[in-house]
């Protein structure tokens, strides 16, 4: 595309139309070329790799297996476990983040003297590196010295220490709690912006008509922030589905397969056994499943861009 921008003589009428027609392409070229090279080309490569039996440390044994990896996948119990965990993972984390975010936003939208400070502080989890968050929560969850057990024991909610991350029944939910904590500020901030877009006059009119706070919430607030909830929710589903760094550092997918989600399983397969053929097949499958949600988001966004 860069060849489309030849040095153009400085005049005139005849040259200009062609020049201005090519101008946008020339301006776009760098971004598009870099993206092609580091995203679309590797992506294509991944698709091709998924049809091969490719283990990175024995390159000579590489052979074409067609849909072999995908057939193997359907028979792989860990794949199905991971798929189930991914559903729980998304199904719990996103609503929890949204709920907590909504509560935070409603509170932060009220009038109080230190509102600016509160709004800045609430976003801190969002700015922390995932690794730090994961390690921090491992420390909080630690079965012998962790503060969570201390607090719960002190309040007599539990009577013996709980190994949050070592218990296969609990580990996934413990990680979900961490991810909820990491992600709720995002919702709070988005919803807060939505709340500020609702005209105050609507509330005034409603309270003159005698509507209760709850009815105002249901009939004014919720419809007012519905578009924000939808957009932020979709974005978060995609983000949460893809996110695996926190789980990876907190549990590494364990104990056993108790906290495997699909992207994590793909990553671990490729990383531990350097089994890139099978790993990318899992990743591609996951991407195809995710594509449905992405499609909804994109249709929404493009409608927006059309304006």
């Amino acid at each position: 595309m860069s060849t489309l921008a030849p040095p153009v003589p400085h005049d005139l009428a005849q040259v200009r139309p062609l020049r201005s027609r090519l101008m946008p392409y020339a301006l776009l070229a760098p971004a598009v070329l870099v993206t092609l090279f580091i995203v679309f080309f590797p992506m294509l490569q991944a698709l091709v790799t998924s049809f091969y039996d490719l283990v990175l440390w024995k390159p000579n044994a590489t052979r074409f297996v067609g849909f072999g990896n995908y057939i193997k996948l359907l028979r792989d119990p860990v794949f199905w476990t991971s798929l189930g965990h991914t559903a729980i993972w998304i199904g719990l984390t996103v609503p929890l983040q949204m709920g907590l975010g909504l509560i935070a936003a409603l509170l932060l939208n009220r009038e109080f003297p230190w509102r600016g400070l509160a709004r800045a502080l609430v976003i801190i989890p969002w700015a922390l590196p995932s690794v730090v968050i994961a390690l921090m929560w491992r420390w909080i969850y630690d079965p012998t010295t962790g503060v969570l057990n201390d607090i719960l024991l002190y309040l007599s909610i539990i009577h013996t220490t709980v190994p949050w991350l070592a218990d296969p029944q609990l580990a996934l939910y413990a990680v979900i709690a961490t991810l909820t904590w990491q992600g709720f500020p995002f919702f709070a901030v988005m919803i807060l912006a939505g709340l500020q877009g609702i005209p105050q006059s609507q509330y005034e009119a409603a309270s003159i008509d005698g509507a209760s706070t709850w009815r105002q919430f249901v009939h004014i607030t919720l419809p007012g922030i519905a578009p924000v909830l939808a957009t932020a929710g979709l974005l978060r589903i995609i983000w949460v589905a893809n996110s695996m760094d926190v789980i990876f550092v907190m549990t590494g997918g364990g104990p056993g397969y108790a906290t495997h989600t699909l992207p994590l399983y793909a990553f671990i397969r490729a990383r531990q056994n350097l089994d890139f053929g099978y790993g990318t097949a899992i990743a591609v499958t996951f991407t195809i499943l995710l594509a449905a949600i992405v499609a909804v988001y994109i249709v929404r966004t493009l409608r927006e861009v059309e304006r």
């Binding site: 609430v122 730090v132 988005m190 966004t301």
Partner: protein, 277 residues
Amino acid sequence: MNKPSTMRRILTTDIPVVLIILLAIGPFAWMILTSLTPTAQLSATGVSLSPAGWSMDNYVRLLKQTSFLANMLHSLIIAAGTVILGLVVSVTAAYALSRFRFPGRKVVMLQFLLVNMFPIVLLILPLFVLFRKIGILDTHIGLILANSTVAIPFAVWMLTSYVGAIPRSLDEAAMIDGCSRLQALQRIVLPLAMPGIISTGIYIFITAWNEYLYALTLGGRNVRPVTVAIQTLIGEYQIEWGLLAAGGVVGALPATLLFLLVQRRLIGGLTQGAVKG
């Protein structure tokens, strides 16, 4: 002021807000307390809540016994490199997308939106193979390119909306006065879009600084950014929580401070798109 309503405000607003804030910053505050408690005391009596038991012991060990400063430098190079690459290629693209209507515009916009959604796991494996082939595995440029997979699409979208908000009549007026397109971009649009460019750049910096999986997979030996280095602070036989916490605090500090510094404008930009929907 009238007392009852203040009381009521405190009960219904201030106290719940305090609880939410405690929830949000509690874990990180706990980590700071942990980092201030010397290791010996940590295993004997636990985290020290009173300043009397605090010391900079863990931080001193972090700086003296580990290569943490070098890791910070790696992170800085990578994050700054990503900002530069991301912004340079995105500014002109954003200008093109917001000022011209041309065949293929929608496809290009769709492409950048789509890229943002791709699972990192699908990219990380082929990028590893690609980088190994061209010999940039475990180099700064490799990690800058990898981080750009996220940074460029993001920057293009953000900047397109920022540039779109600048009235077209301004650059048209400049062109009537004899500026070329590129001069109009450089003299009129760039200065006006500068706040947007700066917040986008800061956001890219934070994301690249905090990035972990690319750094672990595509770097890690010669080029080891803080996020990867923090994990290596886990001791050989038992986890050294004090040291680890100090590493976590120092590693998180640059991004967090930057974030607090610009949060208002950053959030304005990020939420703008969603709210209009």
